[in-house]
Symmetry: D2
Subunit: 342 residues, 4 copies
Amino acid sequence: MALRAAVAGASGYAGGELLRLLLAHPGVEIGALTANSNAGRRLGALQPHLHPLADRVLTATTADALSGHDVVFLALPHGQSAAVAEQLGDDVLVVDLGADFRLRSAADWERFYGSPHAGTWPYGLPELPGARDALEGSRRIAVPGCYPTAVSLALFPAYAGGLAEPEAVITAASGTSGAGRTLKPQLLGSEVMGSMSPYGVGGGHRHTPEMVQNLSAVAGEPVTVSFTPTLAPMPRGILATCSARARPGTTAEAVRAAYDKAYADEPFVRLLPEGQWPATASVQGSNAVQVQVALDPAAGRIIAISAIDNLTKGTAGGAVQSMNIALGLDQTAGLPTIGVAP
Amino acid sequence: MALRAAVAGASGYAGGELLRLLLAHPGVEIGALTANSNAGRRLGALQPHLHPLADRVLTATTADALSGHDVVFLALPHGQSAAVAEQLGDDVLVVDLGADFRLRSAADWERFYGSPHAGTWPYGLPELPGARDALEGSRRIAVPGCYPTAVSLALFPAYAGGLAEPEAVITAASGTSGAGRTLKPQLLGSEVMGSMSPYGVGGGHRHTPEMVQNLSAVAGEPVTVSFTPTLAPMPRGILATCSARARPGTTAEAVRAAYDKAYADEPFVRLLPEGQWPATASVQGSNAVQVQVALDPAAGRIIAISAIDNLTKGTAGGAVQSMNIALGLDQTAGLPTIGVAP
Amino acid sequence: MALRAAVAGASGYAGGELLRLLLAHPGVEIGALTANSNAGRRLGALQPHLHPLADRVLTATTADALSGHDVVFLALPHGQSAAVAEQLGDDVLVVDLGADFRLRSAADWERFYGSPHAGTWPYGLPELPGARDALEGSRRIAVPGCYPTAVSLALFPAYAGGLAEPEAVITAASGTSGAGRTLKPQLLGSEVMGSMSPYGVGGGHRHTPEMVQNLSAVAGEPVTVSFTPTLAPMPRGILATCSARARPGTTAEAVRAAYDKAYADEPFVRLLPEGQWPATASVQGSNAVQVQVALDPAAGRIIAISAIDNLTKGTAGGAVQSMNIALGLDQTAGLPTIGVAP
Amino acid sequence: MALRAAVAGASGYAGGELLRLLLAHPGVEIGALTANSNAGRRLGALQPHLHPLADRVLTATTADALSGHDVVFLALPHGQSAAVAEQLGDDVLVVDLGADFRLRSAADWERFYGSPHAGTWPYGLPELPGARDALEGSRRIAVPGCYPTAVSLALFPAYAGGLAEPEAVITAASGTSGAGRTLKPQLLGSEVMGSMSPYGVGGGHRHTPEMVQNLSAVAGEPVTVSFTPTLAPMPRGILATCSARARPGTTAEAVRAAYDKAYADEPFVRLLPEGQWPATASVQGSNAVQVQVALDPAAGRIIAISAIDNLTKGTAGGAVQSMNIALGLDQTAGLPTIGVAP
């Protein structure tokens, strides 16, 4: 019998992507669709690609609207999930696509998000050491941020293998959908097409502490992260270029072996053959991840690069993958693994 | 038991899209993959998004390589399909994505393609009146051109309803993948990004006689077509803007009714609610078609607009849909209907 | 001595383009910069490319702020120009980039803009027959709309030559800056990149009566216009694909001759050699216009296509060109004629 | 009297940009235009934006064709400049846009370019300490690579100020025109639009030794460079994200002061106000450079970011600027400083 799933925040990009995936999921039936300012509107006017749901009318995001489901996805602005989640039963699987339950450090949360810390839920990046176990059977999941997903998958094998110094330098380029459906001048098509620009430079981006948390946990020691996000002229995709000084004596073979080991059994992550590098087009619209790594002998650094679709593996696809694991389904159920390219 | 399918021309964009779809098709297993100049190369180097087939090596396109399959897809340059097809048994389903068997008029073929006419096969646009019947049980299918697909779906209901004069004026914007993976300077990213440009203006585009054929058949009289294709700065998608003078006495209600009737039972075509217009993003990567129509009272013209993905519904998806029909499968098997948007 | 020019609406795209051009104009010095909601802000925060003016602070758009200049450019929302203009002296050159003074028909104005008609000023498209004379010495200029500029330049020679039937069918693709710096969801980069979509279909676009006015004046009889604008995934540029049934007996030579004659002495319009077609990239950032024309013998239609930069020749460049003519300067002063390509 | 300038390699992107700029240069008249495989073709067919030169026919690149000019620009494939240059008189200003004369280390040249080292010419990045003096009066100029231009301008003030450790980590995103007009599959519009991808990862990019040379010279000690270039879906522009560990005790004020000092008198480089970050759109088509810098206290790193147009300041504009200096002209002659934005 199909699981009944509600989506809170169905008018945004993350919500729309969730619905695209859930409509193709063999074990899920779509229940309530809620929104904030768009409550009362037809979904077809807001998400014209979601034909089968075009005539559904969005309702307000309330505990009542969300009750009676097996799974509730929360695609809400940061800071709004806790109030909703605590009204849902412990037996309901609540999957939070917001940041509210990602960070273990209350101090980090408060510094970067400016509100009281709500708690910490099992972290929905199953490829990280230990993460899959914590997800199995869980009824609460914190879906990672899109940048931390891309960055952690690029770099964690180097730290798991003890090959990298604990100072990562990261630049990532993101498609504009990563900024959500927000009406800001800098997100207008006229501004972003034909242009690359950075933002949140110098340690200010909210995803930074999440990367620090993930990499430090794997490394077993504090890792500092210099993170610079850039906005790229494309709707989707993240290309994360990550590097760290190689520990003395690190060989290219050891680097390769660490990555081979990390991803040998992962259905969504593909370590590319040597010499081939990731491209975001290859994973567009899919839950796939492309990873490649190299050792630069002159600079003494490991360079690891990943490509994901920020809305799929980076948000809604990652959420569905973790839902599958929590519920004991095949983790690939309903998730495309082949990108729409070219 | 799964049908075994071969793809000739697996290194091109049409071949790659076919494989993306066939990999997700529940009733198909992928057999031989052939190419011309790329024979001998790993598919992963040419189609990096097709992970599950990355280590397959392309072989030369020969009758031998293609024999022993239930279905053979030919994604070859125009004029090469006939020689291959005649070596395949009558019981093998041959689906030609080239132009070779689309036109009924040998004179048109020779004028536009410059080689002897090879014949005419059942036409793979099931939404056209009569087309579905001809496809059922057929072992030969001519997949329509991408522009004729978009244009015919936009305009045929107006002609089927006897509402339009037989002089259509059409402008279509296509993503660059419509031009294939050809190394021409005008297809370089540097040239196409940020630019719109026409080509084949004044009746010279090879898809024109195919549109004339389709619309004339529906109208029951010769329809002239003024067709101007333009290259748009996007990888995929066709937006076809079509118009024809309305016959005297035509009302907006009659126009709407004709389109409602044409598409009431079509799983892939969505006639949008009044006031909402197609966008290629909404159908990206899917076999879906968005259609809308209006009557301009001041100009006395019917304006019908469709959006498709040129590689999916316009090529490979249309091919799979027709294969499904020919083989008695559910016509939607293996075909996404929701576009990857935004 | 330099002319002193004020720009009302300096925070929008038209205003920004005006300033880019005026900064390079040898005979102009920039005076007041005003805005509505952005009054009080630094220009550098809004138009980061206009370095030399970065520290200028925008003031409110008032008659006081605009007084004391030789030229006042009004780049205001439609309907706001008249109130400002009437407070400026008759000896001040007022150049209105809005629609307020373009239409001669009060009925058309009221139908399409919904407010009382303010009047008609000399029309700033000097290439149109008679227009240059009306501009010389004038102290009021109505700058044409971007679409009417592209369409009129593509089609008027056919009507001037008596070669086309009075029923034009036009599709135009515009870059997103044509919609201004307005915060609408459909203008977000995530929505427009990778997508083509129409709007204002069926005769509803406000630029339609302006095209009718221009073409009818040249033809000497009423011309109907079926106009479909589409939004293209690029920041700038208009490609206008225009056609009309050829009058009986029209030859390709006659068509060519009409266009040769129209543009022989125009510094900004280039009739391309036969076989070469316009591209918006070629005119990006410049006041240049590319035009080409063909006769389709099978469809019996003249196809004329033009490419302009909507912000330059289509708005701010056209405004400066007309200013130059009105003031007796070289009409090319300050205006680039070579596009930024690729 | 105008200087007569020849351009060898006029059919490529660098050559086209040179001609765009030289056509607007008040002191230059355009002489011979030569090409390799495109010799004999009309320039208008290859560079349709260069209207005034459309009917010029390209000749073969020979010493004869290039003789009799005051300035000769060489926009040739790497390794071809020396043979041409040695046939030109010592009194002719030869400006090489290729790499041939950029590197001082013959070993580096041979390792990265694989041919014998031709020598070293004065380096055309006038903003670097000492560079302007070497250019004045010189008759030979080596124009820097596009990436080294962007990277050196972003980082050299930190090294000049003694603020950064000698290990730079750099990621840069480039528009596709940086790869030239080469017919490679990965440069097709279908492949690059909507996609970000790296190349030359791990120290292999040929511009790396040039960055090392520039930064080491300023630092007064060897600086290692980890450089990762990425291809961005835009025709033009480079965004260089550069960082280096801050030396102990470095303050944000000291960083700011170093950059203020470096760029106080540079007409093309704008150090943005604090909090505002570069965007490539702001400098498109211009010789302008936007620079910003920050100190990340948690990561202990200086992050410096620059935006240039790779074809203008990064290639042809830089060449004209250096030509101006060498010949004693105003260094800004003929060079736009305001980008075409949006």
